[in-house]
C-alpha cells in the first residue's frame, strides 16, 4: 500500500467532523427557516442591540481576562524559567495540574468556594473563574520561550552595560514575544466563546456571546445561531491570522501555536 493512502482515514475524519459542519454553519447562517438564501440573520444581529451588546461585552470580558492572565502569568513563567526551578519541574506541573480536571468540575468547585466564602457571584466571580481556568494556557507558552532562551544573550546585555531593568526591557521581553502572542491567543479565543463558566459563576445573570449562541441553538433558532457562530469564528480567524504573521516575522518558534 502506498504511504499516501494512510492519510485517507484522517481526511475522512476531517471531512465529516470539521469540513461538513463548517459548511453547514455557513449554509444555515445564510438561509432562513424555509431554506431560502438570505442575509436577514446578519441584519437581525446588527439591528438587535441586545445581541450586539452581548458581543461587545464578551470581547471586553475576554480582553480583561487575557490582560489579567498576562499580568499574573508572565512573572510566574519568568520565575519558573529561572535556573533554580529548571531542575525540578514540580512547580510547572503544579501550575498545569488544574488542566487535568474537567473545566465544568473546576468551575462548579469555584462556585462552591464562592458560596463557602459568602462572596457574591457575578462579574467579579466570572473574571476570577475565567482567569483561574485559562491562566495555565498563558503561563505555559511564555515559560516555554523563556526557558529556551539563550542565557548568553542575557549575559551579553549585562556585559554591554544593561542593568537588570534594561536587560528585561531590551532583551528578555522582546525575545519572549512569540510566547506572549501564543498565550494571548490561547486565552482570548476560548474566553470569547465560553458559556458554561458564565452560566455557573453568574447564576445566569450575565450573558456572554457563547451563551447567546447556545440559547438560540437550544431554542431551535438554528439559522440565527449559525450566523452568530460564524461571526465569532471570523473574529477568532482574524486573531489567528494576525498571530501567524507575527510568528513568521519573529521567526522564533517556541510558543505552542
Amino acid at each position: 500500500m502506498r504511504r499516501r493512502n494512510w492519510s485517507i482515514p484522517y481526511a475522512l475524519f476531517l471531512l465529516v467532523f470539521v469540513v461538513i459542519p463548517l459548511l453547514l454553519i455557513v449554509w444555515y447562517a445564510f438561509t432562513d427557516e424555509e431554506g431560502a438564501l438570505t442575509l436577514s440573520n446578519f441584519r437581525k444581529f446588527m439591528m438587535h442591540p441586545e445581541a450586539m451588546n452581548t458581543f461587545i461585552y464578551s470581547i471586553g470580558i475576554a480582553i480583561i481576562t487575557t490582560l489579567v492572565c498576562l499580568v499574573l502569568g508572565y512573572p510566574a513563567a519568568y520565575i519558573l524559567s529561572q535556573k533554580q526551578f529548571k531542575t525540578s519541574k514540580t512547580m510547572v506541573v503544579l501550575f498545569i495540574l488544574p488542566m487535568w480536571v474537567n473545566i465544568l468540575i473546576r468551575t462548579l468547585a469555584t462556585v462552591a468556594l464562592f458560596d463557602f466564602l459568602k462572596l457574591p457571584l457575578g462579574e467579579g466571580a466570572l473574571i476570577f473563574g475565567m482567569v483561574y481556568n485559562f491562566l495555565p494556557f498563558m503561563i505555559y507558552p511564555i515559560y516555554n520561550t523563556l526557558q529556551k532562551m539563550d542565557q548568553n544573550l542575557i549575559e551579553a546585555a549585562q556585559d554591554l552595560g544593561a542593568n537588570p531593568v534594561k536587560v528585561f526591557g531590551k532583551v528578555i521581553l522582546p525575545l519572549s514575544m512569540p510566547g506572549i502572542v501564543s498565550g494571548i491567543v490561547m486565552v482570548f479565543m476560548p474566553t470569547v466563546s465560553t458559556f458554561a463558566i458564565a452560566e455557573l459563576l453568574t447564576m445566569n445573570n450575565i450573558k456572554l456571546f457563547g451563551t447567546t449562541v447556545q440559547e438560540n441553538i437550544y431554542n431551535g433558532m438554528w439559522n440565527y445561531g449559525a450566523a452568530l457562530s460564524l461571526i465569532m469564528l471570523l473574529l477568532i480567524g482574524i486573531m489567528s491570522l494576525f498571530t501567524n504573521e507575527e510568528d513568521s516575522a519573529q521567526n522564533e518558534s517556541g510558543g505552542v501555536i
Binding site: L153, D159, M177
Partner: protein
C-alpha cells in the same frame, strides 16, 4: 608601587561550585595593552576565570581589580570590560546595526555619534554595509565579526574573548586570528583571550597563561612556554614533545634513554631524578654513523605536509618522535642526535606517591579513605599517624573497578618513551600517580590496588 602598570590584577582568587574547586588561589597580573591568552584543556577553569573578570560569576575568595579599582563584587554592567562570546550571543531580534549600537544606546550616546562609531566598528571588522542585515542571515564568521564589533564599539579597557573562534572552520579561524592580532595592535586595548588551542595561543599572544585543574601552571611569552616548559604538563600540552625520565648526573650532564648527554642546565644537584623534554623537531635523524648518540629503527613514518613525523624505537627500548624534512621509511636503521641546547631538563614535581595515613592495626594502614594491607613494622601501633610512600610503578590498575581496593578515573596520560605516566583521580578526591606499560584511555574507570610489600611507612 608599580600597581598602576597593571590593568587587571587577580589576587588569591578561588572559585568553588559546591564541593568542586574550579579555581584554586589564582594570581595573575595583566599589563595595559597586552594580549594575554589563558590556555588549558577543557575543565581547567580558564572560562571560569574569564567569567569572574567579566562579572558573570563572583569569586568565592580573593580580589579582582581592573584599572586599580576593586570590582570583585561589581555587577557586570558596571565593569569597564566587554566580552566576545564563544557562540556569538547576538540579539536575534535586532539587526546588525542595532546589535552593535546596543551598548552605546544604553549610555545615551547622541544618535550621530552612535552612527559614526558603528560604521567605524563595522569597518574595523571588515563588514561595511552590513548594517541592515538580519543577524540570522549571516555566516558564523560574519556573526563573530559583528560580535567583536559590538564589543569594541564601547571602547572597553579590556576585551575578553571566550574561545571566539572555536566554532569556525580551520581556514576561517586562521584568517580571523590574523585579523584579531591586527585589531589588537590598532586598538591598543588589553585582550584577554581564552582558548584550548595551543597553536592559536602561540600565534596570538604576548603572554600565555597555561592552566590545569584550576591552577596556573606557567606564565610566560610564547617562546618561553614553548622552549622552557616548567613541567611535564606544560611540555605535553604545548606542541609535540618527547618526555622521558632522566637523572641529572651533575651540572650540564644528564642521563636518559640509557645514555649520558651533555646539556646546558645546572643547579639541580647530583643524581637528581628529572623529566627531560625534547621537541621532535630538535632531534637530528640520519643514516647510522659515528655521530649518532642513539641508534634505532623507524617504526612509522607519516607525511604531515611540511615535514615527516617518524617514530623511532631505540636499541634501549625507548620510543622517540622525530620530525624532519626527509623521510626515513619504516624498518630503516637510523642514528639520532640532540644538541645540548635542545635538551630541556625539568625538576620532577614528585618521585613517588606520598599520602598521609593512619595505622589501623599491625598489618593494616588507612589512606586515600581505604584500608590497605601492609607488612608489619616495628614501632608502629594502631592509631599512629604515618607518611605512606608508594612508587609509581607499584600501583596496580585493574579493568574491573571491583577488583581494586578503591576506584578512580584516569584523567591525565603522559607517554614517557617506554611507559605511560597516568594521573588517576580517586573517588576520595586525591590523585594517585601510576607508571604502567598498559594502555589506558582518558576517563577510564579503574580499580586501584597496591601490594603490601610496596607500601613504605614512616612514622610522623
Amino acid at each position: 608601587m608599580q600597581q598602576s602598570n597593571y590593568i587587571i590584577e587577580v589576587q588569591h582568587v578561588s572559585k568553588r561550585f559546591g564541593e568542586k574547586v574550579a579555581l584554586d588561589d589564582i594570581h595573575l597580573n595583566v599589563k595595559k595593552g597586552e594580549f594575554v591568552t589563558i590556555l588549558g584543556p577543557s575543565g581547567c577553569g580558564k572560562t571560569t576565570l574569564l567569567r569572574l573578570i567579566a562579572g558573570f560569576q563572583t569569586a568565592s575568595e580573593g580580589t579582582i581589580k581592573i584599572a586599580g579599582e576593586e570590582i570583585t563584587q561589581t555587577p557586570p554592567h558596571m565593569r569597564p570590560v566587554n566580552t566576545v562570546f564563544q557562540k556569538y550571543a547576538l540579539f536575534p531580534h535586532l539587526n546588525v546595526y542595532d546589535n552593535i549600537a546596543f551598548g552605546l544606546k544604553l549610555k545615551k550616546t547622541p544618535q550621530q555619534v552612535i552612527e559614526k562609531k558603528v560604521k567605524a566598528a563595522l569597518k574595523m571588522v571588515g563588514m561595511t554595509d552590513y548594517e541592515d542585515r538580519d543577524v540570522d542571515s549571516l555566516s558564523g564568521g560574519q556573526q563573530q565579526r559583528v560580535a567583536i564589533a559590538r564589543a569594541i564599539v564601547n571602547e572597553p579597557e579590556v576585551l575578553l574573548l571566550d574561545e571566539p573562534l572555536a566554532a569556525l572552520d580551520l581556514k576561517m579561524r586562521k584568517d580571523m586570528q590574523m585579523e584579531l592580532k591586527e585589531m589588537h595592535q590598532k586598538l591598543g586595548i588589553t585582550f584577554v583571550y581564552v582558548t584550548h588551542d595551543q597553536e592559536e595561543a602561540l600565534t596570538l599572544s604576548d603572554t600565555i597563561v597555561v592552566m590545569s585543574e584550576g591552577k596556573i601552571q606557567q606564565i610566560g611569552t610564547p617562546m618561553d612556554i614553548y622552549n622552557e616548559p616548567i613541567n611535564s604538563f606544560v611540555a605535553d600540552f604545548i606542541g609535540e614533545s618527547n618526555i622521558l625520565n632522566g637523572t641529572m648526573v651533575k651540572d650540564k650532564l644528564v642521563h636518559f634513554a640509557g645514555h649520558e648527554f651533555e646539556c646546558v642546565d645546572k643547579g639541580f644537584g647530583e643524581d637528581m631524578p628529572v623529566d627531560v623534554v625534547i621537541r621532535p623537531e630538535d632531534i637530528y635523524i640520519f643514516d647510522p654513523s659515528d655521530a649518532a648518540q642513539l641508534t634505532g629503527v623507524v617504526t612509522s613514518c607519516i607525511f604531515k605536509g611540511v615535514h615527516f613525523e617518524m617514530l623511532v624505537q631505540t636499541q634501549e627500548g625507548y620510543e622517540l618522535m622525530v620530525q624532519d624534512y626527509h623521510s626515513f621509511e619504516a624498518g630503516r636503521e637510523v642514528g639520532l642526535l640532540v644538541k645540548p641546547f635542545d635538551i630541556h631538563v625539568m625538576k620532577k614535581e614528585r618521585t613517588c606517591n606520598t599520602f598521609e595515613g593512619k595505622m589501623l592495626d599491625n598489618t593494616h594502614v588507612e589512606f586515600l579513605g581505604c584500608s590497605f594491607e601492609c607488612i608489619a613494622q616495628e614501632g608502629l601501633e594502631a592509631g599512629d599517624k604515618v607518611q605512606v610512600e608508594v612508587d609509581f610503578q607499584h600501583v596496580n590498575l585493574q579493568d574491573n573497578e571491583e577488583d581494586g581496593v578503591l576506584s578512580g578515573d584516569v584523567k591525565f596520560i603522559l607517554y614517557k618513551g617506554n611507559h605511560y605516566h597516568l594521573t588517576v583521580f580517586t573517588d576520595w578526591d586525591e590523585d594517585i600517580y601510576v607508571d604502567t606499560n598498559d594502555v589506558w584511555d582518558d576517563g577510564d574507570r579503574v580499580g586501584i590496588s597496591i601490594a603490601p610489600e610496596h607500601i613504605r611507612l614512616n612514622k610522623l
